[in-house]
């Protein structure tokens, strides 16, 4: 630490810039504090109809019949659709996008089931009516006959011999080969490094533990919402709340049997996503209804629909076995991860498997991952998908080693920390990463050495790794005569990204961030831009902006050369000033040159379209103090300090916000949040009273340390900051609880009931 006095938020900057690293007011801020910003459900077009969706009351059932006649006859109902209204394709026809490769028929069955319902809340029919109340009355008039089947609720249940099958055409994929009998196990993956048996033979201490984690939801405050108009020219226009306009456009087009650009998607402001708003839910249904009625159709999910039928993140069963020498050198690590995919394949078990031991340089590793379909909603991405479950397991075992060996938990991690050159078990060799720097900042933070007195209190630490992603982004910039620059880009602004992007353009051009005016535009107005997720916007779209601004810079130099009649090679542009290297009288400020553009060849535009490969993996850690009530199991978080390597914090306030928000979500995941499923496989707590996300009273101030180990793969060193901060909290809380109550928690959430069970078990 370079600071001596305690500060709640610290930036350990390694390089300084003029605009990057400052804290301007976000450009979209005024609209968002005055209620003017238009989110998914705000401002509907004239003649809009309202859609409600009939959903399965069963977790698993065959559909015997659907009779929509009474609903169609209800006054005010304009159309009813079922999955039979989708086009059909050959059974094996596939669709591919940024989220993976899926069978088209599964994508359609997921949106509107015709054969089987695979989770409580699975859509069966959609109604468009003059208002939402009539639409609701109408769906209650649809008669569906079901043949209920036994539900599969956990990954181990789904993998058990003789388990009821969800799909009769799902065959286990293993080492590139497909199995020959149908199974609930969609895939089995394995990562190997060294010799696991040799590793355990070298170990002085071996610990093996089993863990279960509950299904949890992203919990964004704005439910999914869309309005769709199928025009008479065959073009479909979607206005919605999404993280991923192009991805949702493409998947919706695939489901509807259209070409991508037959669909135009206008992203409205987005009220949170955390990975959960990357795929269409109501869009294809509203499209069918719009085609039938000729009118725009709007759908907004209720909170119960959100919880019961949009992507949660998987519950999981994880087994970890690790071996260490008496000197504290980790020599072997073995992981078995079985994740619930939900109703269709595609859990984040692969990233979980890649991250589980990634913070450490361990010579002998064996990891098996299992993607298992179960009768729960299809999971979707949630902030570092798969990694939090995995780290809860591995990081509590590491803590147990520290206790057994009498080594400080941070020092033990430093002894084994991954560095540049460390090869991960899944193959990649780390480039320059900040694992050591994050651990050192944790060790040196005043929180870590502060006394923690009083009974039933404990302090815990944990760290986590996340890859971050690159993917394609585009940006356009235009210089105006008054010296400002407009910026158009395609990344929905989920947490202040407009300002972070504008700042990168401003830095290149040497102008104030306020002089760059950013807009998020629709899919017909900008080049392909992958969604706002994977911690990628400030990294990849930021790079596109850097390219667009650099393009402008080149053109401004050429224009000045033209105006002055000199060679462009004699001109440089630094800090917003264009000047001749040889003649000090030849000098334009950015504003002066902008005013000369009209009349000297016209205004200047810059373009950037990138697919960067240099995304920098990120580490983060949490120090947390808790007090636990030994009689009730209630846990109060007393103090929390989150440390993260941002590479470079473009706008430190919004980076701090990511660290704090991810930590809060991780604390909710660790202590409260859980899908309670009844014996029939129905969620029993589908309200925000009973699905308990942290409220202001539950949390302390969350202090931050931003470590900056520049990512060599980005012009400003950005790594991306959105996700890795959620990984540590459950494990850090478990480790704190161990010191508070002398119990090792092996189950999430660490709710009062689960804590008391652990306390009583230990007392026996």
């Amino acid at each position: 630490m370079t600071t001596t006095a305690y500060e709640p938020n610290v930036v350990l900057a390694t390089e300084t810039f003029d605009v990057v690293g400052t804290r301007p007011i976000r450009h979209d801020g005024t609209d968002k504090v005055t209620g003017r910003a238009e989110y998914g459900s705000d401002g509907q077009p004239v003649s809009v109809l309202y859609c409600k969706i009939l959903r399965s009351p069963h977790a698993h059932a065959r559909i015997k019949s659907v009779d929509t006649s009474k609903a169609e006859a209800l006054d005010g109902v304009k159309a009813v659709v079922t999955g039979k209204d989708f086009p059909s394709s050959p059974p094996d026809e596939e669709w591919s996008g940024t989220t993976g490769t899926f069978k088209l028929k599964d994508l359609r069955e997921h949106r509107l089931a015709t054969k089987k319902v695979l989770y409580k809340g699975h859509p069966v029919a959609g109604v468009a009516a003059v208002n939402q109340h009539v639409a609701q009355e109408a769906i209650e008039l649809i008669d569906v006959q079901y043949e209920p089947l036994p539900p599969i609720m956990t990954a181990p249940q789904g993998m058990a011999k003789g388990a009821t099958l969800l799909h009769d055409d799902l065959f286990t994929e293993e080492a590139g080969e497909k199995g020959d009998t149908p199974s609930n196990l969609a895939s089995h993956l394995q990562y190997k490094k060294g010799d696991i048996e040799k590793g355990f033979a070298e170990a002085d201490v071996i610990i093996e533990r089993e863990f279960n984690t509950a299904t949890v939801h992203q919990g964004y405050i704005e439910p999914h919402s869309c309005t769709v108009h199928w025009n008479k020219d065959g073009k479909v226009h979607i206005w919605n709340s999404t993280q991923a306009p192009f991805d949702v456009r493409d998947m919706t087009a695939g489901i509807l049997g259209l070409s991508s650009t037959d669909v135009r998607l206008t992203p409205k402001e987005i009220g949170g996503g955390f990975g959960g708003k990357w795929e269409p839910y109501g869009e294809p249904i509203c499209a069918l209804l719009s085609k039938k009625t000729g009118r725009p159709v709007h759908n907004a999910l209720t909170r119960a629909e959100e919880l019961e039928s949009t992507g949660p993140t998987p519950g999981s069963y994880i087994k970890v076995k690790m071996g260490i020498t008496n000197e504290g050198k980790m020599v072997a690590a073995q992981g078995h991860l079985a994740y619930e995919a939900g109703a269709y394949l595609g859990s984040p078990v692969d990233p979980g498997a890649q991250c589980i031991f990634a913070p450490y340089d361990i010579p002998n590793v064996l990891i098996d991952g299992y993607d298992v379909v179960v009768n729960k909603p299809k999971t979707a991405a949630y902030r570092a998908p798969g990694a939090t479950n995995a780290a809860f397991a591995s990081e509590t075992v590491v803590d147990e080693f520290a206790e057994k060996l009498g080594i400080d938990p941070i020092e033990l991690r430093l002894l084994n920390a991954a560095k540049e050159g460390t090869r991960r078990a899944d193959g990649p060799v780390f480039p320059r990463v900040g694992c050591v720097e994050v651990l050192e900042a944790m060790r040196d933070h005043p929180h870590y050495s502060a006394p923690l007195e009083g009974p039933n209190r404990g302090r815990g630490v944990a760290i986590g790794f996340w890859f971050n992603v690159g993917l394609q982004s585009a940006a356009n910039m235009n210089v105006n005569g008054d010296g400002t620059v407009t910026l158009t880009e395609g990344s929905p602004d989920i947490g202040g990204s407009r300002v972070g992007l504008a700042m990168q353009g401003a830095e290149v051009l040497g102008i104030p961030a306020e002089d760059v005016h950013p807009s998020v535009v629709d899919t017909d107005q900008i080049g392909f831009t992958a969604g706002s997720g994977g911690s990628r916007v400030t990294f990849a779209t930021g790079w596109a902006v850097y390219e667009a601004a650099s393009d402008i810079k080149r053109q401004l130099i050429e224009r000045a050369a033209l105006i002055w009649g000199v060679d462009a090679g004699d001109i440089e542009m630094e800090k917003g000033v264009v000047q001749s290297k040889s003649d000090p009288d030849l000098r334009f400020t950015f504003k002066e040159l902008a005013a000369e553009l009209d009349g000297s060849g016209g205004y200047v535009s810059g373009r950037g379209a990138v697919d960067p490969k240099g995304e920098g993996g990120a580490f983060a850690g949490l120090i947390v103090d808790v007090e636990a009530d030994p009689d009730t199991g209630k846990v109060q978080v007393l103090r929390a300090t989150v440390v993260q390597d941002a590479g470079k914090a473009i706008h430190p306030s919004y980076v701090e916000g990511q660290l704090q928000g991810g930590t809060a979500q991780g604390i909710g995941w660790g202590l409260n949040e859980e899908y309670f499923m009844d014996p029939e496989g129905r969620m029993a707590n589908s309200t925000l009273l009973d699905y308990r996300m942290p409220i202001a009273l539950d949390l302390p101030m969350i202090d931050t340390v931003i470590v900056e180990v520049a990512n060599p793969g980005h012009p400003f060193g950005v790594r991306g900051v959105g996700e890795v901060n959620i990984i540590s909290p459950p494990a850090a809380l478990a480790n704190a609880l161990h010191r508070a109550l002398d119990v090792r928690m092996e189950q999430l959430p660490m709710s009062p009931g689960n804590i008391m069970e652990a306390v009583w078990k230990k007392g026996k």
Partner: protein, 157 residues
């Protein structure tokens, strides 16, 4: 038989009359009938606070009030917090402290914070957390929201 009831209110300092079906909430009337979409729907059952408005001096979840119940009442929504002269100090503090990320919960937090600072001009951190316990934010972890309210309190006193 008419299916709607005529409701007279004052909203953000102006007389507003509207027609409400018996089953429509005040939130639905504000958003879909009157066109004031600054109040947001996050749960429609009183658990998230995104629809918070001030009704006759009390902060309420407008999704839990029927449109017809608003007869004769004085309502402040987020649209009435700023004045023609500019933003309210709480709004400025939210911007300066980066107290919003996605912004969907922000209108509810600002309406609730305004009521807090009118009742208690210099609240402690604990009092702020208690007053805002009915408003869910999933993005920020509340840290910067609490700091923004403290900052606004300091500037308003």
């Amino acid at each position: 038989m008419p299916t709607k009831t005529h409701v007279q209110t004052r909203i953000n300092g102006e007389d507003v009359e509207f027609l409400s079906e018996p089953r429509q909430s005040l939130l639905e009337c504000l958003r879909d009938v009157i066109g004031l979409t600054g109040s947001k729907e996050g749960c429609n059952d009183g658990n998230c606070g995104a629809c918070t408005v001030n009704l006759d001096g009390r902060i309420v979840d407008s999704c839990l009030v029927l449109g017809v119940e608003a007869q004769g009442s004085e309502i402040l929504t987020i649209e009435g917090v700023a004045t023609p002269a500019g933003l309210h100090p709480i709004q400025t503090a939210f911007l300066e402290n980066a107290a919003l990320q996605c912004g969907i919960c922000t209108p509810g937090f600002i309406v609730a914070s305004k009521a807090l600072l009118e009742a208690e001009p210099n609240p402690s951190e604990g009092r702020i957390r208690l007053w805002l316990a009915g408003n869910l934010c999933r993005c920020t972890g509340y840290d910067k929201i609490v700091r923004a309210v403290m900052d606004a309190a300091g500037k308003m006193s």
